[in-house]
């Protein structure tokens, strides 16, 4: 544990630091996927209860993020991307971050149980436990499969939303979970291909650090081959309409093109990482193909779930009903 993580803060923390502990950008994607699950369930529910359910998912995501930032403050201090976070920067004490995480987690699960049902509360509790304990404490520093297995935590919110609305989690909900689960490895490994210097410095066994860039690029392609057909599936099981099919089809095609270009590139192999002042990462030269896939993967997942959500809100007919 670094001094910065344990000593009294040199600078008084502001509300922005506590907000940063909740990883608001990650939270926004979690909320989008949970709302999609909630709306796709097509269950009648009070708008006020639906809003409280979504708030619970957001606070649960924020709580698990704060626990993650509290526990990981020692390695965050070693990486360029994370060393400015509130705990390693010395603005928030580690115990305060963990306290915020515990309170938010208990609050979100308790309110979810009261507002929705025990299944939704149980799934939310499991999601928080999986991220804060299974991923952060057990997997992250031990195995290169950390983000593969740990990706389940980030994938579960659609099932939480579905359960909150309907009291059940049918196969359609788990299909949405599976899409995010398959999306996670190409997304994070593309990032780690050009930031592996940072991970190696912190002793985090990300795939490019342990298996090398060539193996990582091949595994990214393998997961992309699984992901892109899987993302089409909602259109054939009564979840997605024609627009969704088009977005998943063209998006998947572009995803594959970028994944193939990444495999054919030398991303992650160009020697020492370099950085300029103000850069967020220690970036390896020649990693443009990895950066392109990483950036597109965010847009791709956002587009899939936004389209699905919009189609359900607008009452667009499912593609499976059109061809029946």
């Amino acid at each position: 544990m670094t001094d910065a993580a344990t000593r009294a803060p040199a600078v008084a923390a502001s509300w922005r630091d506590f907000l940063a502990l909740m990883k608001p950008r990650v939270m926004s994607l979690v909320v989008l996927t949970a709302v999609t699950g909630l709306v796709c369930a097509r269950a009648p529910m009070s708008p006020a209860l639906a809003a409280i359910d979504v708030l619970c998912v957001a606070l649960g995501a924020g709580g698990s993020a704060a626990l993650n930032m509290g526990y990981d403050s020692d390695i965050d201090a070693l990486m360029r991307r994370t060393r400015g976070r509130p705990v390693p920067a010395g603005r928030v004490q580690r115990a305060d971050a963990m306290g915020l995480g515990v309170v938010l987690s208990l609050f979100s699960v308790g309110i979810m149980g009261l507002a929705a049902n025990m299944l939704a509360a149980g799934l939310l509790a499991f999601t928080i436990f999986f991220y804060a304990v299974v991923y952060t404490r057990w997997l992250k520093r031990r195995t290169p499969q950390n983000i593969v297995i740990g990706g389940l935590a980030g994938a579960l919110p659609p099932a939480v939303g579905w359960a909150a609305a309907s009291g059940s989690a049918p196969l359609q909900a788990w299909l949405l979970v599976a899409i995010i689960f398959m999306w996670t490895p190409p997304h994070f490994w593309a990032l780690s291909l050009y930031t592996s210097g940072d991970y190696a410095k912190a002793g985090v066994p990300m795939m490019p650090v342990t298996a090398g860039p060539a193996s990582t690029r091949r595994q990214i392609l393998a997961y992309s081959l699984l992901l892109t057909p899987l993302a089409l599936a909602p259109a054939f099981v009564g979840l997605g309409g024609l627009v969704y099919l088009a977005v998943a089809g063209f998006g998947g095609l572009l995803f594959m093109v970028l994944a193939v270009r990444l495999v054919l590139s030398h991303a992650g192999e160009s020697g020492e990482a370099r950085n300029r002042d103000g850069d967020l990462y220690d970036v390896k030269a020649g990693a443009k193909a990895a950066r392109n896939l990483f950036a597109f993967s965010i847009l791709y997942l956002f587009a899939l779930f936004t389209t699905l959500l919009a189609e359900h809100l607008l009452g667009v007919a499912a593609f499976a009903d059109l061809i029946r």
Partner: protein, 45 residues
């Protein structure tokens, strides 16, 4: 040295006061949320 009873400088005292307000507002929000949930559930909504 400040005359703050906790021996804090003004910035730290202000931060603590803001944290206290945030905790109070959070508790109030908790009560309101539970109240709203109860009303909706009792009303069959």
């Amino acid at each position: 040295m400040s005359n703050n009873p906790f021996g804090e400088d003004p910035a730290a005292a202000r931060a603590r006061r803001l944290r206290s307000i945030a905790i109070a507002l959070s508790l109030a929000a908790f009560v309101v949320i539970v109240f709203v949930i109860t009303l909706i559930k009792k009303g069959g909504g």
